[in-house]
């Protein structure tokens, strides 16, 4: 009943839109909606970007030397090419010529060196933590267009890792105060006067952008609409042209709308429940295995994500990736789980507290679904929902069993960021020397096939011994009006590419 009624109205809406649009429409300002913008704390400084709105800002205004594309491979951006010595300890990047900053000056190697030195300073931001393999003194300029990194240990996939989400090049000598107000990047768009409390951020096309013909849109207006219902209605009625992070619950409605297309990203965000492997009862590997065996991966995919995602095998590598240790889902086995629990000394089941927050689509539903599934094996899960704002601060890394989510990353960084013994984000407190050795070996292995085998062993180890229950990848889906083109959501929710986006 609702469907037919809405279709007629949508048809009426289209008719109105036809009247409103001039016959030969020039490309116009694009209205782009993200779920959050951080309000007063939102930022356009690439070193201190923390939420979806910030990442949009950075993606439109700044560029890194190496771009991680939608398939999570390293592609040249501000660096045209790069090479390393055979040991993979000295990496040389050749910069593109003729790239201009928004103030008209040319980007050279001293800007790259300055940027890395700035972000590697632990008081600037958090990049230092993720780029721990580089020290500020390791980076130097050979000439105006050549930058070299001398790193302590071999790192075969250095280019993938150096294109970190914070490593966006800004003009040398420009400090945090100025970067907070105005853009000093080489991106396709620029912002003249940034005011975090304005509801709309206006991005103007950068006329001197190095790639001819880009950006396609004359300007972008960025808004944040936190309510999924409002975001869906806004895209359905054409109030905005692009809306990211759409929730599965509104797909049915949007699919029936002829003016909207749904565009999925190539890879997804992995949703996980992280157990501290050094804390009872999770310090017993049999308990961890039992907790993983109760998961009905397909049922979670069908309900929590309404089918919009992929199954995961308790590790951050997609089943379809060549780096995955197995390509079929681990089946559910409640009897085995019960048996393992009995062996571990819990014949009557056990009771545990699980913390979750609304920090990624589906996390709260996942916690509730897991609670039901675990109950069948005698595991009583008390679900605690913590406030969204304080979740990463008060709950994550502090509670022994908590929901978490990771954006898609290249295998090298996906495996190291949260699973190495010394990882700063080691959310499972998992310390496995065998695993660390595998990663070290992979880092110094230059042959891709050899490296792949090491990666497979490593993610198998996470799935079998580690503390993460990872049942699904949620596909990031953007809704785009059909009169717009050139936009696809990035596999990694931290990255945005809008230079080809345009609307008629």
């Amino acid at each position: 009943m609702f469907a037919s009624r809405s279709r007629t109205l949508l048809a009426a809406g289209t008719l109105l839109a036809l009247f409103a649009t001039p016959a030969l429409a020039a490309d116009r300002c694009v209205k782009f909606a993200v779920p959050e913008r951080g309000g007063e704390s939102s930022s356009i400084d690439p070193a201190v970007a923390f939420n979806q709105g910030d990442f949009f800002n950075v993606g439109a205004l700044y560029e890194p030397i190496v771009w991680i594309d939608n398939n999570l491979e390293a592609k040249p951006l501000l660096a045209e090419s790069w090479e390393s010595n055979p040991e993979a300890t000295v990496w040389t990047f050749h910069l593109k010529h003729g790239v201009k900053f928004h103030d008209g000056t040319e980007m050279t190697s001293k800007d790259v060196v300055w940027t890395y030195q700035r972000i590697l300073d632990p008081t600037t931001g958090v990049a230092a933590k993720e780029l721990a393999f580089v020290k500020p003194g390791d980076v130097s300029a050979l000439d105006d267009y050549t930058v070299q990194f001398h790193i302590g240990a071999p790192l075969a996939e250095f280019p993938l890792l150096i294109g970190n989400k914070f490593a966006y090049i800004s003009k040398a000598g420009v400090g945090a105060d100025e970067l907070a107000k105005k853009s000093y990047g080489t991106g396709a768009f620029k912002v003249e006067n940034f005011n975090p409390s304005e509801p709309v951020v206006h991005f103007a096309a950068f006329k001197d952008y190095w790639e001819a013909g880009y950006p396609k849109a004359p300007c972008i207006d960025l808004v944040s609409i936190s309510e999924i219902v409002a975001r869906a209605a806004a895209i359905a009625t054409g109030e905005v042209d692009v809306a990211t992070n759409m929730d599965p619950s509104v797909f049915a409605m949007l699919k029936s709308n002829p003016d909207v297309k749904l565009i999925p990203a190539a890879r997804g965000t992995v949703l996980m429940l992280a157990m501290f492997t050094d804390t009872a009862p999770f310090n017993d590997v049999r308990v961890r295995q039992a907790m993983k065996l109760v998961v009905d991966r397909q049922a979670i995919l069908d309900t929590v994500l309404l089918g919009y995602g992929f199954i995961a095998n308790d590790n951050p590598i997609a089943l379809s990736s060549a780096d995955a240790f197995r390509s079929d889902p681990i089946p559910r086995d409640v009897a085995k789980a019960k048996q393992l629990l009995a062996e571990a000394g819990y014949p009557n089941g056990l009771t545990i507290d699980l913390y979750a927050g609304d920090v990624a689509t589906g996390l709260i539903s996942l916690a509730q679904a897991y609670q039901q599934m675990a109950a069948e094996a005698g595991i009583t899960v008390n679900v605690n929902i913590a406030p969204t704002e304080t979740y990463w601060d008060d709950v994550w890394l502090k509670r022994s069993f908590a929901a978490t989510a990771w954006g898609a990353r290249p295998t090298a960084s996906a495996l190291s960021i949260a699973y190495r013994s010394d990882a700063k984000y080691n959310e499972t407190h998992w310390k496995n020397p065998e695993f660390d050795a595998l990663l070290d070996k992979a880092n110094s292995t230059l042959d891709p096939e050899e490296r792949r085998k090491l990666y497979q062993e490593a993610n198998k180890l996470i799935a079998e011994d580690g503390g993460a229950i990872g049942p699904v990848f949620a596909t990031l889906i953007a809704a785009v009006r059909t009169n717009c083109d050139g936009f696809a959501p990035h596999s990694d929710w931290n990255r945005v590419d809008v230079k080809s986006l345009h609307c008629q």
């Binding site: 049922a299 309900t303 679904a369 929902i385």
Partner: protein, 299 residues
């Protein structure tokens, strides 16, 4: 039961007749409210035993499949039957509202009556403090309480009841004080004071009984708004935690399904609204019986 042959086991006929008389002469709003409330209490008390599905049970039907005989309020995204959840949630909503309001009433009445009885600068200071608390928007008060409690306590029923009490106590205290100011001037309070009775005992023996009418209406009035308050907290994410089938929380959770299956919002909404209608009617009737006028709850 009424035609029981053993007269000593049933209530004396005179009392029964008195109740019949009272019921016949009671205002319509009181009768209607009582009936609505009785139905709600009955459903809340017995629901968990006859609800077709469990409160958290998944795979009861196709997610978001809409209204059917088996699922009168539809099926939510996790495949849970919304009707069963609503029925399971009744006692939570009612118990939380009553306990929160009761706690607020006890605290508010003690503070208010004592403040009115003591008078002087203590009273003046307390009044400023209460006014300051009342002037802070209740959502701010609630949020402060929730953040302070931390993630472990936030979302527990105790916490929600405490927040309700915390929001209501200053407002009730002000009413109680106004009543006390009137009562303390009466002779019997003066007599009690001259007898050397303590403030506490005067409050208990003289002030409380005489203010009971005011306090009863105040309690009913606040209790009528409590489900809304708890629902608002749930809606903003500061209330009960999922998967508790608290109605406000269900409305908030299912709000994103209004395109796919609006009934999952309207079902819990219907229950919440009828409960509040019942409480409002009951309060209005009660106030009329006690000869007091109701006023809108100052939010």
């Amino acid at each position: 039961m009424s035609d029981s042959p053993q007269p000593d086991l049933v209530a004396p006929p005179s009392r029964r007749r008195a109740f019949g008389q009272f019921w016949r002469s009671a205002p319509t709003s009181f009768k209607a409210g009582t009936i609505v409330l009785l139905i709600h209490v009955l459903v809340a008390a017995t629901g968990p035993f006859w609800a077709p599905f469990g409160a958290g049970e998944m795979r009861t039907g196709v997610p978001l499949s809409g209204v059917s005989w088996l699922h009168p309020f539809g099926v939510d995204q996790l495949g849970r039957d919304v009707f069963s959840r609503v029925v399971h949630g009744g006692h939570i909503v009612i118990l939380l509202s009553l306990s929160g309001t009761l706690l607020g009433l006890v605290i508010g009445a003690v503070v208010g009556l004592l403040s009115g009885y003591w008078g002087g600068w203590v009273d003046e200071l307390l009044q400023r403090l209460l006014e300051a608390m009342i002037s802070i928007p209740f959502l701010v008060l609630a949020l402060l309480a929730v953040i302070t409690a931390g993630p472990q306590l936030s979302g527990s029923p105790v916490m929600v009841a405490l927040v309700v009490a915390f929001v209501y106590a200053p407002r009730i205290a002000r009413m109680a004080r106004a009543a006390a100011l009137d009562i303390v001037t009466r002779d019997y309070v003066l007599v009690a004071r001259l007898r050397g009775e303590s403030a506490w005992s005067i409050m208990r023996r003289e002030l409380l009984p005489n203010a009971s009418g005011v306090l009863l209406v105040e309690f009913a009035l606040r209790a009528g708004y409590a489900p809304v308050l708890i629902g608002s907290l749930g809606f903003l994410g500061f209330g009960m935690k999922p998967p508790t089938p608290e109605w406000g929380l269900m409305i908030a959770d299912n709000r994103q399904l209004i395109f796919a299956s609006p009934i999952t919002v309207l079902g819990p909404g219907l229950m919440l609204a009828t409960l509040v209608v019942g409480l409002n009617l009951f309060t209005e009737g009660l106030a009329r019986i006690l000869g007091r006028s109701t006023r809108p709850v100052a939010r």
